[in-house]
Symmetry: C2
Subunit: 322 residues, 2 copies
Amino acid sequence: MLETRLDLARVRAARRVIDPIFLDTPLYPCEALEPALGCAVSIKLETANPVRSFKGRGTELVAAQLAENGSRAVVCASAGNLGQALAWSGRGRGLDVTVVASRFATVAKLDRIRALDAKLELVDGDHELARERAAAIAQYDGIRLLEDSLDIETCEGAATIGLELVDTAPSFDTVLIALGGGALATGVGHVLKALAPEIEVICVQPLGAPAMTHSWHQRRVVTTDSTNTIADGVAGRYPIPAVLDDLLKVADDAVLVQEASIIAGMRLLLDRAGLVVEPSAALGIAAILEDRDRFAGRHVVTIVCGSNVDLNAYHHWVGAAG
Amino acid sequence: MLETRLDLARVRAARRVIDPIFLDTPLYPCEALEPALGCAVSIKLETANPVRSFKGRGTELVAAQLAENGSRAVVCASAGNLGQALAWSGRGRGLDVTVVASRFATVAKLDRIRALDAKLELVDGDHELARERAAAIAQYDGIRLLEDSLDIETCEGAATIGLELVDTAPSFDTVLIALGGGALATGVGHVLKALAPEIEVICVQPLGAPAMTHSWHQRRVVTTDSTNTIADGVAGRYPIPAVLDDLLKVADDAVLVQEASIIAGMRLLLDRAGLVVEPSAALGIAAILEDRDRFAGRHVVTIVCGSNVDLNAYHHWVGAAG
């Protein structure tokens, strides 16, 4: 019996709460990637929705619950995607949404949070400082603090992706999941290990932001002093103990990839799949590029989890010729 | 009573024949486009599938029928997307697929047709010459000729998009449809006029390939001597009379747009929606850009019908900075 904080019945019920605009996303083989990667790759595309990331699945659950309880306001820290999704879900339900972000966050993400009528507060530090500030606001204002990966709705929202993988995929061997705070990995991982335990769950994190991966391998929380990666969506330093406990139960492996591989992955997704993605969404392809032998001949699903990217930075990374 | 060659019951039945990988594509509002366009725009995204265009909906019907009849082979002329889709659908059913294309066709499309194990024959002329050659092959070999827009499966396959628009959309006022041979426009148009006649159906064609639009306005077939547009997917010169008859019954308007507007549309879809699209898929945005007053304050759906583009040409058109 798989014992994590997640509950499969609640994940199934979540599909009835989440706006269908975030559900049943495309899952399709991309044969044009095969020659470069040496394995069959299917893409689970989480970018074709109003917030261009998978985070709406979780924020829909939170916002629906708050609206039902008569709450008026909610605050979260975010590298940008959670904040955008919470702003979208909150706006539709009349909630006041405050998002705290690093002033170094991706400009496109901050612009979209503002455009969705959320209050945006910037801190002069990294994501961990934003988390502290969001907690302080919640305490001072007496409002709900949404904590990514710790709050079960963020994990169970993401877990609905797992249900879709199990329900609709032709047989595949491995799923590659971007690893940051762990909501996506524990969510999808829980469903796969509960319903299709033969599928290998591999988490992928940048070498420049390795805290959760080191924690997973050492089976205890390992923090880092800094992060250094273009994959802003997964750049945390303080893994959450309860999330690590769950990750230890559902992940078969956690690997680290270099920045050059992330960029090569973004370039391949553009060249071969016609997809503009943010760095976090290319982590799966990066993992294949770094260890082709491991994946040779296998059928791999990679979750393309977000496409909120500053185009100038994107072109700088990927190059004009694609 | 709407009398075209299409049949709504057959369109509904088509959804049970077409591989689900082509169905229930994302439909979502893209608010980031609003400031530039002055109207609400929702995107119906037909590019997140194995052939990166909507054409698989039609070729699935044809290939299923051929397989059921014990046929072994099929030939079509194509600017690239139909051929790629027929190659995909035919391969899965053991059919020998021959595609005839212009040697000036988009290289990425030709490469993908070859990669899908189809026989590719290039003619030294434009798409209309490819049509002649495909017909000659069909006659000589005694095999099925698939004619885009004339063959009802191509229209009724595309029409399943219309069912999805009617079933899942929040209320919208207008749908903008790329117009080439007319399969997409008559297909989607038939369903909308049958089930939601209040929705305005506007076809959009490049000024450089205006034959069908001129024909629609003059209510008779008008041909042109040449085409001159980057929108290769819609560049025909000889409208098919039966398709024009249907288009006259389902389209509320047909408009022509300049090349510069198509490019501006592609750039907006990249900048604001993170989508790399082929020129034909930007025709709807181009139409809004050319007539903002007409669409001001309205809710418009545009069908992003394909993303098979040569990246070098794309960067040349759209620019490196996005």
